[in-house]
Amino acid sequence: MVFLRRLRGRLIDLAFVIAGVSVLVFGFIRMIPGDAVAIMLGANAEVTPERIAAVRTRLGLDLPIHEQYVAWLSDVLRGDFGVSIWTGKPVIDEIAAHVWPTLQLTLLALATAVILAIPLGILMARLRGRRGEALVQAGSVVGLTVPPFWLGIIMILTLSAVAPGVQMLGYVPFSQDPLGNLARLILPAIALSLPIMANLARLLRSTLLEAMQQDYIRTARAKGVPARRVLYRHALRNALIPFITSVGIMAGYLLGGAIVIEQVFAIPGLGRLILGAIAERNYPLIQATILLVTCSFVFVNFAVDVVYALIDPRISE
């Protein structure tokens, strides 16, 4: 019951957020100062008032604002995100062509961060009260604040000195060359994952330490459960719940970081697409990318929240 009530509350939140995001993203093109269409067409000699009017009609910019929104939204819901100003092709096709490298990079970085953060967090919790604690804390803050794009550059520099000739840049699809694909993505994924790893390890450390002070841990100890088993079976299982929730939030951070690190490793992903779109003022493409990525981010967090409610016995029962 608690679960169902929580689910309903979350669904209402979700509806509000998605509606708000859609309004903001819709308003985006209209917020551009001056005549967006003239800007989009550039200071080109061929720009005639007729051409501007044609583009306006094509974008539906000549209708009242609420009608524009309804028309836009119904197009979007049918999968029509508009056409690229320059190529005239549906922007959704361009996004689809660039989404895989970014998605793969994000997931690989997330996996790296999670896999390494768990032992690191446990280690940090066990160091509590020992001499090196301040150093470990400072070290974890370095991890949090190291700029991934700089780390990527340092990696390229180091590796090309140690092992010249290794192909580190660019992208090949996994289906074409699985090994080459992973070999090219592993460095950016590691660079991208470091801040998340540090963040998750620190979170795990503090939730573990908090869990260790709970009554059930004292009970387990009192009945003679070995220390190791108390840590791994009792404390860790409970400490992982907040850990899982924050993994969803990290996805958004990783995505933003991926956009930047793609530039360092010459990966043709969403980062390159959206930067190109900004340079050539291809607003429909920017608009669709922001809308799609943000909505998937919102849905991921919604899913994480539901999973969280399912695995947390205090809520699911």
């Binding site: 949090l144 700029p147 907040p242 951070y253 995505l255 900004i278």
Partner: protein, 286 residues
Amino acid sequence: MSAPASPPQAQARSKRRPLLSLYSVALTMIVILVLVALAAPLIAPYDPLGQDILQRLKGPSSAHWLGTDQLGRDVLSRIIYGLRSSLSISASAVFVAFLGGSVLGLLAAYYRGWTERIIMRLMDVLFAFPVMLLAIGVIAVMGPGAVPTAAAIAIVYTPIFARLLRGPALVVAESDFVLSARSIGASDLRIILHHILPNLVSVILVQFSLLLSSAILVEASLSFLGLGTQPPTPSLGMMLSEGRNFLFLAPWAAIFSGVAILIVAFALNLFGDALRDDLDPRLRQS
């Protein structure tokens, strides 16, 4: 995104000494960095824009401690000025976010009802966007540059302050001293400014330094992408991106500008982190 480190946990802190020392290390670093940024024109050995083409891409030497870039400009001087612009863009952005967010958060907590619902729903919507993506959207509208960068960061961080202040403000607004202030006829504004806000100073300070640390990284990322501060004004992110083109000839510009970003972000984050651990436990429960 702000690496929003670990959430405030109620940890019995038996040993305070090591944290206090990290705290003083961080504070010392911040003071030095701010002084360097403020005194940039006095301490920079060269004009950050002064080109000396004969001295281009030279390594660190006694004349140019951190070497020179592709136009023969002194890397150290550019880093000092880059620090100045990074800090001023990020600090003004976080300050605007703090002003906007705290007004909204306090209004929501104080008036409750529809005011609260509308404000917090709006904050949820802004919070739903991944930071870099919202920043890119703002820059797509406003065009690249330092001001749009600051505006983008301010918009992205406003909901964080609103949420942060609403919780504790709700608690404080119901507390006895606020009720008694109201009973003697204090105005709403007076209660908010004199009774609620001072109780939240430490929470605000922690969040401010953590967000400033993240803002430095976001600003660096945006100028690395060419969307932030525009040339020839030196910025740390742009130096890193320009240095990348000469990575194998002259790696110092890229290496040292990255180190500078790391040091600033590190000092601010460590400061917020140590301060939070040291906070009054009453404020941890939000």
